[in-house]
């Protein structure tokens, strides 16, 4: 399979998955670029593996988590700089707003709040929740992507749902 075919086949899935992690279009575009650059450089390795979809999903998850970690570091640095009242830092801090085009306008505020809580979840719980609840993957598919057993995925999703329900009830109550 050539790089162009892979890009055309998986660009939507990669962009949407990145969007669920990043919560905004500009970061999702950056992550998508990172993913396909990595795909290009590792095409030889992929040919030995079974499913291109699973392989690309794994790269997307890793790149998204790396990107979010780097973004968090930048935010922390911007906060430190903002202590010296730099206008640059203020701009950087406001850059990570929720802007998901797949969310209906009337649900945007509630979904933004939900995503803020999802971002507090441990990486594996967040990935399990995104794959099963937003990407509508079956537990077996999510397990394959995450290299876990379906039972482990079920447990991760359950824990994520419990955490989110508790937090949502706290903020509502």
């Amino acid at each position: 399979m050539t790089f162009e075919v892979l890009y055309e086949t998986f660009k939507q899935q990669v962009y949407n998955l990145a969007l669920h992690y990043a919560g905004n279009t500009s970061d999702a575009a950056e992550i998508t670029q990172d993913v396909f650059v990595a795909v290009y450089h590792n095409l030889g390795r992929f040919r030995k593996d079974a499913g291109a979809g699973t392989w690309i999903y794994r790269i997307t998850i890793n790149k998204s988590l790396d990107y979010l970690k780097a973004r968090k570091r930048k935010k922390r640095f911007a906060f430190l700089v903002s202590l010296s009242d730099s206008p640059e830092a203020e701009i950087r801090q406001t850059q990570t707003t929720f802007d998901h085009p797949g969310v209906a306008l009337e649900q945007r505020e509630a979904t933004a709040h939900l995503f803020a809580l999802i971002n507090k979840l441990p990486d594996n719980q967040r990935t399990a929740l995104i794959l099963t609840k937003i990407e509508h993957k079956s537990q077996a598919e999510a397990a394959d992507i995450m290299n876990l057993s379906p039972k482990a995925v079920e447990s991760l999703v359950q824990r994520a749902k419990t955490f989110l329900s508790q937090k949502l009830n706290l903020t509502e109550g």
Binding site: Y15, N16, Q33, Y40, L114, S165
Partner: protein
């Protein structure tokens, strides 16, 4: 299921922006032209280490040699020749 969590199921897939492939190609091009092959980078690194080592050895042997061939101070020579007994 918590009704708030149902919001996740209402998220619709969106189309990827059309400019992405151009940007990806630009980044791949930049990676290819901007970075030297691994063998070249290793070669350059090893040459650098070798040059530093040669310089260190040269400086060390030169200073050792110099201290072995210690020439007497002209003042001392003068004084020893013109000592008053």
């Amino acid at each position: 299921m918590d009704p708030n969590l149902r919001l996740l199921e209402n998220i619709h897939p969106v189309a990827a922006p059309p400019f992405l492939l151009t940007r990806i190609r630009q980044r791949i091009e930049a990676d290819i032209t901007g970075t030297a092959p691994l063998a070249w980078r290793w070669g350059l690194g090893m040459t650098f280490v070798l040059v530093i080592m040669l310089n260190t050895v040269t400086i060390y042997t030169y200073t050792q040699h110099k201290s072995d061939r210690h020439t007497p101070d002209p003042y001392d020579v003068f004084m020893s020749h013109h000592q008053l007994y």
